[in-house]
């Protein structure tokens, strides 16, 4: 009985869990109001990322490309960015923030986007857009380093470090860096904070990603975090970054640069982690945890108690996706008496082995658990098909759907992207509401499976 962490021993990837860094930077950028990023690379690096966003949210998001073509790949492509910035500014008069996001190709050819930003700041912006607030932010996200997770982390830090500015007294607000979450998560987090009467700058305000179809026609979805929000992060009384690997860097930056105290993690998935989150908020703000949240938590406990021993106990689960989420889900599953026997972390971040949560798992788990880093989905499928891994449930995003479908294993879609279920972005997985959604979602997936397979389906009749 032990928990083992190891790296995938194959060099290649069969069915990836993550895409590459620029996608993470793009995901961060769409959270900012009046911001359209330019991805410096081939057109596919944008076109397909926009597509996967639209698959997940059933919405369209604006992102531009420097449209690297052959000549540019040979002779350098900075002029493409220059033109791209100008074209974007001319045609989108509201745009104030333009991150310039690099890719593998433009990092390999060595385009100096930092130098270019200086040049444009002193040239184009002064000459042509003197009366306009424009921020060009170089973001280096070579695709051959890290993953979409680290790309997101880097971009959040770069946005924060660009804007954050200490001005006057420390404000009442805290910074809440959510990590790569859904609109439903932000709604739940804001509701928890509002119950505690805590004001927060949320990075990023993405509730509007779930945008309405309005009589006046609102053609795109966009996040609502403003430049002022980002600027004010330096003045906050503290930062809570929910995810170590998605926003942790920005929290550390604010602490080291502006002495804004940082609490990083835990990812508030499950009752226990949400409790800790609230405790952290309480410590940071001095605000009490109100009766309303005791009640909200009580509703969650009540709902989940109906499920644990009778249905969830002993169920063997594999979990893949964004690393903080996977670890948070594993912790919650253990609290639910389940057995998360396989965790797949889809990149080669060397920090995972030293993650205190991983260490805790290693020290305390009473069943055989494997944590695979640099993992792909073949690590999951191969174990099921060829190595006798028995599973009762899979938790992960839609790219792994066929593992579940072809092996007749129930699956709860969770994480990014989820495109084969309707409206999942609307539901939280964090907070007490998230705990209920997850536990009930897992239970219902198992119930449906019991019925299809005629596996003690009659027990549900007298539940």
């Amino acid at each position: 009985m032990n928990c083992e962490i190891k790296s995938k021993d194959r060099i290649g990837v069969i069915n990836p869990i993550f895409t590459c860094q620029p996608a993470g930077a793009q995901y961060a950028s769409i959270g900012i109001k009046d911001c359209i990023g330019i991805v410096h690379g081939g057109q596919g690096c944008v076109m397909f990322v926009r597509l996967v966003f639209s698959q997940h949210f059933k919405e369209s998001f604006e992102l531009a490309s420097s449209s690297l073509h052959e000549d540019a790949a040979v002779f350098g492509a900075l002029h493409r960015v220059e033109q791209g910035v100008d074209v974007l500014l001319m045609r989108y008069p509201h745009v104030k923030v333009i991150p310039i996001i690099t890719t593998c190709s433009t990092e390999v050819i060595g385009d100096d986007i930092d130098g270019l930003v200086l040049k444009l700041n002193n040239g184009l912006l002064k000459e042509k857009y003197a009366d306009r607030e424009v921020h060009l932010i170089p973001i280096h996200t070579p695709s051959f380093v890290g993953s979409m997770v680290s790309g997101y982390d880097i971009a959040v830090r770069d946005f924060v470090s660009h804007f954050a500015k200490k001005e006057g007294e420390v404000s009442r607000k805290i910074n809440l860096i959510t990590g790569w979450v859904n609109p439903g998560d932000v709604t739940e987090l804001k509701s928890l904070l509002s119950e505690m009467d805590v004001e927060a700058t949320v990075l990023f305000e993405i509730e509007a990603f779930d945008s309405p179809l309005m009589p006046d026609g609102n053609h795109v979805s966009h996040g609502e975090t403003t430049i002022e929000d980002l600027r004010g992060t330096a003045n906050a009384r503290g930062t809570i970054a929910l995810n170590r690997y998605e926003g942790g860097k920005a929290a550390q930056f604010l602490e080291s640069e502006f002495d804004v105290p940082a609490v990083i993690g835990p990812t508030p998935i499950g009752i226990r982690n949400t409790d800790i989150f609230l405790q952290n908020v309480k410590n940071m703000t001095g605000k009490a945890i109100p009766e309303s949240l005791v009640r909200k938590r009580g509703i969650a406990l009540d709902a989940i108690s109906d499920l644990t021993h009778m249905f969830l106990a002993g169920k063997r689960v594999a979990i893949y996706g964004n690393s903080d989420m996977v670890i948070g889900l594993a912790q919650f599953c253990i609290d639910l008496e389940m057995l998360p026997v396989l965790l797949l972390l889809g990149d080669d971040n060397t920090g995972y082995a030293n993650d205190p949560r991983v260490k805790e798992l290693k020290e305390n788990v009473g069943f055989n658990m494997e944590i695979i880093t640099n993992a792909d989905l073949w690590e999951l499928e191969d174990r099921i098909k060829n190595k006798g891994l028995g599973l009762d449930l899979i938790l992960g995003h839609s790219k792994g759907r066929f593992v579940a479908i072809d092996n007749n294993i129930p699956m709860l879609r969770v994480g990014f992207p989820v495109y084969d279920r309707a409206g999942y972005y609307r539901h939280p997985i964090v907070g007490y509401a998230g705990a209920v959604w997850l536990a009930e979602g897992m239970a219902n997936a198992i119930f449906t499976d019991m019925e299809y397979k005629h596996n003690k389906e009659w027990v549900l009749g007298v539940w």
Binding site: I11, C20, R91, L213
Partner: protein, 535 residues
């Protein structure tokens, strides 16, 4: 001047010549936008890259192949599970994708060794698959890895294994079209002629430029097989690697999407003397003409006529039911490349819709020539459209529906223009007689969607109708329909099953023997080859 000046693009004068209005009495040559030029950066164009054109559009529909991209993981991930090119072998090509996962050290020190390991690993993971395509990406092209050399090395070491290399990095051309071109020629030069096929019919074709979106290839294959024609290979939907290696033995190349696959047809004609015949699987008349043309070529036009008669009798009453209700519907026909000319005239003639705009993301001027000549006067034609121009066009043209891709479709939805997925289809297949009816049904459902109608009400300003608890599509579509059409007992709504493809896979067909001409049954397994390759 016929050029269309978008207000949103006044500040980029070089865009002017990329859009035209098809004026009354204008010569085609007057009304031809520029096409297939480098994209203007920052326009938020809808174009993809040459890697995706090669890998995602043309390469991956091949069904018994390990598709390995040599580069960082993103190219692979991003182009995986975003299309609907199914196959009759359990969709291996949809379910599995392979990336060499190039990391920083590989960029610095070279990635050839790790590529080799990758190839071996992939074959080991799928021991039943002996065929592989390796796709170059921006990163592997820029660091200069010699993928062909590695492939040769592996093939020497692993007997029975065949590897095709496609060098088409993302930056190789203005759009995905560059990748179509590259993989066409690469397949021809590397692979064609390396396998000698089994010929079981007197009439042998390659079916080219057909990607089996939601089963298009299989619905067309049914017609060809009923004519007694052997499909030696399909380039590439539902296609087998080895079949495609024997393209040189066909008597005729039947070309569907000329935008993405005319190159290989032209080269097969030049090198092997195989004629190219452009056909069209969309639309009753175009399809009937196509089947007849192929019939004439082989001298089996009677067999074509029989199929045309049977299929028309079966499906025309359903098409006409919708046509009566779609008359005058305004359409923006905004696909990727070839569908603007595959569809423009057929939807107008057979469904009565008005094509008010055509656009192409990666088409060339030739596509525009065909598209503009086939759409209505006054139509707006746009090359390499971008987000703002698309919006401006929709606001000014007020289409009832647009046919476009998934993401632009979300933009349209927000301004209350329903969309149909022109690339992956809503509920396809759309090819064939049955498919064309399905397309008409999908258009009808979108245009007369009760929920869509509700989106036009602003509850804060408008008087809210309180007279009905629901609406059916017909309550909208039949309002102004003459009684004799409304009650025409000869017409009926679509009766196609949710998925018509599995039944086709079970059918048995006769073919005339190449030597004797004697018609005999060829077993299903031989036709579908479903037992080869993948377990």
């Amino acid at each position: 001047m016929p050029y269309h000046q978008f207000k949103c693009s006044e500040c980029i004068p070089e865009r002017l010549k990329h859009a035209v209005d098809k004026g009354a009495g204008e010569e085609l040559t007057d009304a031809l936008p520029l096409g297939y030029l480098n994209t203007i950066p920052g326009t938020i164009s809808e174009r993809g890259c040459a890697y995706c054109g090669a890998k995602h559009v043309i390469g991956t529909p091949m069904k018994d192949v390990i598709h390995l991209s040599h580069g960082p993981v993103g190219c692979t991930y991003d182009t995986w599970q975003t299309k609907r090119y199914i196959s009759d072998n359990g969709c291996f090509q949809l379910k599995y994708t392979f990336a060499s996962d190039m990391k920083e050290a590989h960029v610095v020190f070279g990635a050839e060794k790790m590529l080799k390991k990758n190839i071996v690993e992939a074959f080991k993971a799928f021991p039943n698959i002996k065929r592989m395509t390796i796709y170059q990406t921006c990163a592997s092209a820029l660091i200069g890895d010699d993928i062909n050399a590695i492939a040769e090395e592996v093939m020497a070491e692993l007997p029975g294994v065949k590897i095709f290399v496609c060098n088409s990095p993302g930056f190789a051309g203005p759009s995905q079209s560059g990748g179509h071109h590259k993989i066409n020629l690469a397949w021809l030069t590397q692979m064609v002629g390396t396998v000698e096929p089994k010929i079981y019919s007197k009439y042998v074709i390659n079916y080219v430029g057909e990607y089996n979106i939601q089963g298009d290839q299989e619905i067309m294959k049914d017609y060809f097989h009923r004519m007694g024609i052997q499909i030696l290979s399909t380039f590439t939907g539902n296609g087998r690697f080895d079949d495609l290696c024997s393209m040189h033995r066909a008597h005729l190349n039947v070309l569907e999407c000329a935008r993405s696959a005319e190159y290989i047809c032209d080269e097969l004609r030049a090198r092997y003397g195989i004629p190219r015949m452009d056909i069209d699987g969309f639309g009753f008349e175009a399809l009937s003409d196509s089947l007849l043309k192929i019939g004439y070529f082989f001298g089996i036009e009677d067999r074509a006529r029989a199929i045309i008669a049977e299929e028309t009798a079966r499906w025309k009453p359903e098409l006409d039911w919708y046509a009566a209700r779609l008359k005058g519907i305004k359409v923006c026909l905004w696909p990727g490349g070839s569908k603007l000319w595959h569809w423009a005239h057929s939807i107008h003639k057979e469904m009565g819709v008005e094509v008010v705009s055509v656009y192409t993301k990666f088409g060339h001027q030739g596509d525009m020539e065909k598209g503009i000549s086939r759409c209505e006067e006054g139509a707006l034609a746009i090359d390499d459209p971008n987000e703002l121009e698309g919006l401006e066009a929709m606001y000014s043209l007020k289409p009832d529906i647009i046919f476009t891709g998934k993401r632009p479709g979300e933009v349209a939805k927000k301004i209350r223009v329903p969309y149909l997925n022109a690339h992956a289809y809503h509920n396809g297949p759309y090819k064939g007689y049955e498919g064309w009816v399905r397309f008409a049904r999908d258009i009808y459902n979108a245009v007369y969607s009760p929920i869509h109608k509700l989106s036009f009400i602003d509850i804060s300003k408008d008087e809210i109708p309180t007279d009905r608890g629901f609406a059916t599509q017909q309550m909208y579509s039949d309002v102004n329909l003459p009684e004799e059409v409304k009650n025409n007992a000869d017409l009926r709504q679509c009766t196609s099953k949710y998925d018509p493809i599995p039944a086709l896979r079970e059918k048995t067909y006769c073919f005339p023997a190449p030597e004797t001409g004697e018609w005999r049954v060829i077993p299903n397994e031989e036709l579908s080859k479903k037992n080869s390759g993948v377990a």
